[in-house]
């Protein structure tokens, strides 16, 4: 064990943190691109949203896998619940993001409309929530 006092130790390995930074930044960016598309009907914004969402999925996918390992590794420790919660949030975020990738593969206005906007909001909120939990200092349950 490290010498760091238990109350200040982060939950994540630094590399896991870097992987997680991608969905945290890209899902909300995709949301803003969607909002701009719905306001302007300028197709480049839905193209941006599709790529941002794809980037969040690609790198975020590794963060999800890592969180599985962590959830199992931490299952007998004091932070088991947080490890599990982080995994669940990331897994749901990723699945919602995947559905949104298909939604954004539709053409024209159908690539976003209400469904795409809701999916973007959900994946952005889940990414931010997962980040909040992941980067909080470890506290005993």
């Amino acid at each position: 064990m490290t010498a760091t006092p238990p109350g200040t130790q982060p939950l994540l390995h630094p590399l896991h943190g870097l992987l997680l930074a991608f969905p945290i930044a890209l899902f909300p960016s995709a949301l803003f691109a969607d909002i701009t598309y719905l306001n302007t009907a300028e197709v480049q914004w839905t193209n941006f949203a599709a790529w941002l969402n794809a980037g969040a999925l690609l790198v975020g996918g590794f963060a999800v896998l890592w969180s599985v390992v962590d959830a199992i590794r931490l299952s007998r420790t004091a932070v088991a619940k947080r490890g599990l919660l982080l995994f669940v949030l990331l897994a749901v975020m990723w699945i919602v993001g995947l559905i949104n990738a298909f939604q954004h593969s539709r053409d024209g206005w159908s690539s976003v409309e209400t469904t795409g906007l809701i999916l973007s909001i959900v994946s952005a909120v889940l990414a931010l929530g997962a980040g909040w939990i992941a980067f909080s200092r470890r506290r005993s349950a």
Partner: protein, 431 residues
């Protein structure tokens, strides 16, 4: 536990997606009044590629009383053909540029679609074929012109051969019996070529020979590259043969891939490929006469008044103007060839048109992959399409894909270009 539950959820989702591409039986989409089911925009656009297999010495199948032979093989992506006055045949070979991928979807769909295409690179040339002894094999084969830029549409008027490259209309001087162009092509006019999502430029000459018609496809499926790049697309241009001056003759034709003059009425007809991703049975590709100044719906609506929700803003005033096409050929059949029969005709095929159907890639049950006959009476389609040439599919694989069709009144035969097996097939009465 949680992982297992997620896996089950994902599998259920995948199953639900896979079942989306099925078409419903009993929906008749051929003829003047096709049955149009409700729009079904699925989460995952269904793609089903018939991957290529060889002919293994076999040929496509024609009705009894006809033989099919390979007039020429080993071509470089043959598309459209032109029968010259002396019975020689010109074949345009080319494969177009690919429009840039704008979204992850374009990258993935491009990779999937490539699995159903030939590996051969387009020849960018015109090949001349001659079969004087009528044995069904071309004994003379020359490169008539090369260094072209994805040639597609061909027409002959008054000693000139007109060639529609993907970016320009060219003409070559021709004298009876020539096997090679005597000079380089002369540009008649430039053609719209920015992006060139649908790159093929179809071509037909008016009955009196004064005008040329060029079919220009849309720059997207349904405006997803922005309507700013569609200004001169999804149109048929009328071009003055002498001056090269042009005007839009008809608009809203999403992808007019082959055009021809109906021999009795002298009216211009086209086959056009309609939009994708509204379901396996939307929207039917069509064969229609073209009215001067007519608007045929794209992008705002299809088959007359059926608005497309993917276009924003919607334009009800344009939807109101949209002309209903004359004759539906079926959804996603990808009609790429059109040739009317003139003179005494070929066996049972006397009044009507041959239509080449390249075949579908975005519905689970494959459609097209054949050449059909659309019977005409009094200058209008009369009756359901009949199979002329089949057997392009075998066990879910494609042995060939028909593109251009050409009725040859001199040799009394039908020619079919196949851009998968790189063959020109000849269908002739059995002797």
């Amino acid at each position: 536990m949680m992982v297992a539950r997620n896996l089950i959820a994902v599998s259920a989702l995948a199953l639900a997606l896979a079942s989306c591409g099925q078409s419903r039986p009993g929906i008749d989409q051929e003829g003047a009044d096709p049955n149009l089911p409700a729009q079904r925009e699925t989460l995952l656009p269904p793609m089903k590629i018939a991957t290529p297999v060889g002919w293994e010495g076999e040929t496509p199948k024609a009705p009894d009383g006809f033989t099919v032979t390979a007039l020429a093989t080993g071509l470089k992506v043959p598309r459209q053909m032109l029968v010259l006055p002396n019975g020689d045949i010109l074949v345009a070979e080319g494969s177009g540029q690919s429009a840039p991928a704008l979204r992850p979807k374009d990258v993935i769909a491009g990779l999937i679609k490539a699995r159903g295409k030939t590996d051969v690179k387009g020849g960018n040339r015109l090949t001349l074929l001659r079969d004087r002894d009528g044995d069904g094999k071309a004994e003379v084969r020359t490169v008539f012109a090369d260094g072209l830029n994805s040639p597609y549409g061909l027409a002959f008027v008054d000693g000139q051969i007109y060639v529609a490259d993907q970016d320009a209309l060219l003409r070559f001087a021709y004298r009876d019996g020539d096997t090679k162009a005597t000079g380089p092509g002369v540009e008649v006019t430039k053609l719209p070529s920015r992006i060139n999502h649908h790159w093929t430029k179809s071509l037909a000459a008016s009955a009196d020979g004064t005008k040329l018609y060029v079919g220009i496809g849309s720059n997207s499926n349904i405006g997803e590259r922005g309507l700013a790049v569609e200004g001169d697309r999804a149109q048929i241009w009328e071009i003055d043969r002498v001056t090269g001056a042009h005007r839009p003759y008809a608009t809203g034709t999403r992808n007019p891939t082959a055009m021809a003059i109906q021999p009795e009425t002298k009216q211009l007809w086209t086959v056009a490929n309609e939009r994708d991703e509204l379901g396996p049975q939307l929207v039917p590709d069509y064969l229609t006469s073209i009215r001067d100044g007519g608007f045929y719906g794209w992008p705002y609506s299809y088959w007359g008044p059926n608005a497309d929700p993917r276009v924003h803003p919607q334009k009800p005033e344009m939807v109101k103007k949209a002309i209903r096409p004359d004759y539906a050929l079926g959804s996603h059949v990808a009609a790429l060839g059109l040739s009317f029969v003139s003179g005494e005709g070929l066996g049972p095929w006397k009044h009507g048109a041959f239509v080449g159907q390249h075949g579908s890639w975005n519905r689970q049950d494959l459609s097209g992959y054949k050449v059909v006959w659309v019977p005409f009476a009094n200058g209008r389609p009369a009756g359901k399409p009949q199979d002329v040439l089949t057997g392009f599919l075998k066990d879910g694989h494609a042995r060939g894909r028909p593109v251009g069709v050409a009725y040859d009144p001199v040799g009394r035969r039908l020619l079919v270009a196949d851009d998968l097996s790189n063959t020109v097939w000849r269908v002739a009465p059995r002797r």
